[in-house]
């Protein structure tokens, strides 16, 4: 068997295997089809082969970045979740995926990256804490600018000034999209019968972060929770295909509080504190030694027993 392909994706939190929608789509599809992938959960997009996440490095050393491309690649390798779909269902999949990309994704971008309270209280701290030094200083800001540009291009030009109106429009579109998805899902377990397909992966990937992440301005989450069949759909997929992540987190968590964050989410902080304390202590000691503030230590180090007889002799000679 050839070596498995490597998938680089963002780390997970809040009971999810990954915090990014695109990564979740790819992970869900891989789990549905049982594709063997070597997972690399990282928090540094510069370490990924394509410079962005998710990224799949195939065993022919080819790099794929778009979720659609990755799914096509997996399909070519006979990991096909859409095998049982009829032609019409396949067409419906394509249509609903387009619906989500046009109506839901702009609202998601806004909720996580543009809305001031959410960005400052949740998104930016999460990325800043999980990224290594010195990326945590400038990368979240750069990601936000990229997302803002993407939103501006998706929706047209004049949306930078009218914050509240834009929010209402995006929210209206997103709720309409969620309602439509809910209507299509009905009371079924998955969108097309009893086994999940790529449409299920896309819907899960986009709705799961909304469901799980507790944001200060959580209008989307509130609306999603009123659509019980979509909520059950996401929880079901998490329980069936990502049981480890659900178990690790112990259910949906609130946005990390300052006390908890230090010791639950970032264990390195303790080590960093210890390290910085040691460095400070070492610096102070060195300064004390060099400047002669600690004479006793200096005296014992310079071996006084040898000096005394010489001095005595000098004294005698004089």
């Amino acid at each position: 068997m050839a070596a498995p392909d490597e998938l680089f994706c963002w780390e997970g939190d809040w009971g999810l295997p990954s915090v990014s929608s695109d990564c979740l789509v790819v992970l869900a599809y891989a789990q549905f089809t049982g594709a063997p992938l070597k997972l690399q959960k990282i928090c540094n997009p510069w370490r990924s082969p394509s410079g962005s996440l998710p990224a799949l490095r195939t065993n022919q050393k080819e790099t794929l970045s778009r979720p659609a491309d990755i799914i096509i690649h997996l399909r070519k390798q006979k990991f096909n979740a859409d095998y049982d779909l009829s032609a019409k269902e396949g067409a419906d999949s394509l249509a609903f995926i387009s619906l989500m990309e046009e109506k839901l994704v702009p609202a998601l971008i806004y909720t996580f990256w543009i809305e001031p309270k959410n960005y400052v209280d949740v998104t930016r701290p999460w990325f800043a804490e999980h990224m290594a030094f010195p990326l945590n200083f400038f990368l979240p800001g750069r990601m936000q600018r990229q997302q803002l540009e993407k939103l501006r291009l998706l929706r047209g030009v004049d949306n930078l000034e009218t914050g509240e109106e834009l929010e209402k429009e995006l929210f209206h579109d997103a709720t309409e999209c969620m309602n439509l998805l809910s209507q299509r899902l009905g009371s079924q377990k998955f969108f097309f019968g009893d086994s999940p397909s790529s449409l299920d992966a896309y819907v899960f990937g986009h709705l799961a972060p909304v469901l799980r992440c507790k944001l200060p301005n959580g209008k989307l989450q509130q609306h999603l929770k009123t659509l019980k069949n979509l909520t059950d759909f996401c929880s079901n997929i998490l329980l069936l295909y990502f049981p480890r992540d659900v178990r690790d987190s112990g259910g949906p968590k609130a946005a990390p509080q300052p006390d908890d964050a230090d010791f639950n989410d970032v264990p390195d902080k303790r080590r960093k504190q210890l390290l910085s304390a040691l460095v400070a202590l070492g610096a102070m000691l060195t300064y004390a030694l060099v400047s002669g503030m600690v004479p006793i230590l200096q005296g014992t180090l310079e071996e006084p027993p040898d000096l005394e007889p010489i001095r005595y002799q000098d004294h005698e000679e004089e």
Binding site: L94, L180, R184
Partner: protein
């Protein structure tokens, strides 16, 4: 259109019936209009004809700038101006004309999803071919787009538009696609539409809806617009039910003008 403006327009719209002198503005048909704009314009015209609402088509070189959202086409009804198919459908609905009332919830969900599919794939592919394929840009898009203006204004406007479209393509992930991949995407989209249409006369039973108008607009433009290569038209032609669908709508709604 923003939500508040939409609500306001709907309120105003409900007050008056459809006037006789409604006009639809688009760029100059012979020299200026490009594939994607032509598609959108035909879609709106088809929709209004399906609703039996009379409208006059007026060609203006600065139609793009007159439009409230910057997109073509837009209609001027009474003292209101509405642009793009989505808001126009809402507008006519407020006046009491609607094609999708008889659909149930699931069908309406599917209709909206397929309309987004067309917007997401067909329209984006058209924009890509027009503005990101160098051969088409040099031979067709730049000369046509800059035709009403003198040099150097025409050149500057054309380049501006090209950069804007290229930025959008990069943002949505189409920037790295090759022309072959775009043709393949168009093929997939047409396949999906063809599957959904099947052997029915229209997408939803016997009555046309706004989805039919939108699909007709795009397919008709692709089939009748001259591009550098026939590849796009060939891909569409390979689906015979889509071809007969276009012909049927053309005969039913557009040929009575000449007869």
């Amino acid at each position: 259109m923003s939500l508040a403006a939409e609500a306001f327009v709907s309120q105003m719209a409900a007050a008056e019936p459809w006037p006789e002198n409604a006009t639809l503005y688009q760029p100059l048909k012979e020299d200026q209009i490009l594939l994607s704009d032509h598609a959108s314009s035909i879609a709106v015209q088809a929709y209004l004809r399906m609703c039996s609402l009379p409208v006059q088509v007026v060609c203006r070189a600065n139609a793009e700038y007159m439009s409230p959202s910057g997109k073509i086409p837009f209609i001027n009804v009474g003292n209101q101006v509405v642009s793009e198919l989505g808001p126009i459908v809402q507008f006519t609905k407020a006046k009491g004309h609607s094609l999708s009332d008889s659909l149930d919830d699931v069908q309406r969900a599917e209709m909206k999803a397929y309309m987004e599919l067309v917007n997401n794939m067909l329209l984006t592919a058209e924009l890509y071919i027009q503005w990101c394929d160098d051969a088409t840009v040099a031979e067709i898009s730049h000369p046509r787009y800059s035709s009403p203006y003198s040099w150097p204004l025409g050149k500057i406007l054309a380049y501006q538009k090209q950069w804007e479209v290229r930025r959008k393509m990069n943002a949505i992930g189409w920037g790295g696609k090759t022309l072959e991949q775009v043709y393949e995407d168009v093929n997939q989209c047409c396949q999906a539409l063809s599957q959904r249409l099947g052997t029915q006369p229209y997408f939803f039973n016997k009555q046309p809806t706004e989805l039919d108008a939108l699909v007709f607009g795009h397919l008709f433009s692709i089939l009748t617009t001259r591009l550098t290569s026939n590849e796009l038209a060939e891909r569409v032609k390979s689906y015979s039910n889509l071809l007969s669908f276009c012909r049927r709508i053309e005969q039913t709604y557009f040929e009575d003008k000449s007869s």
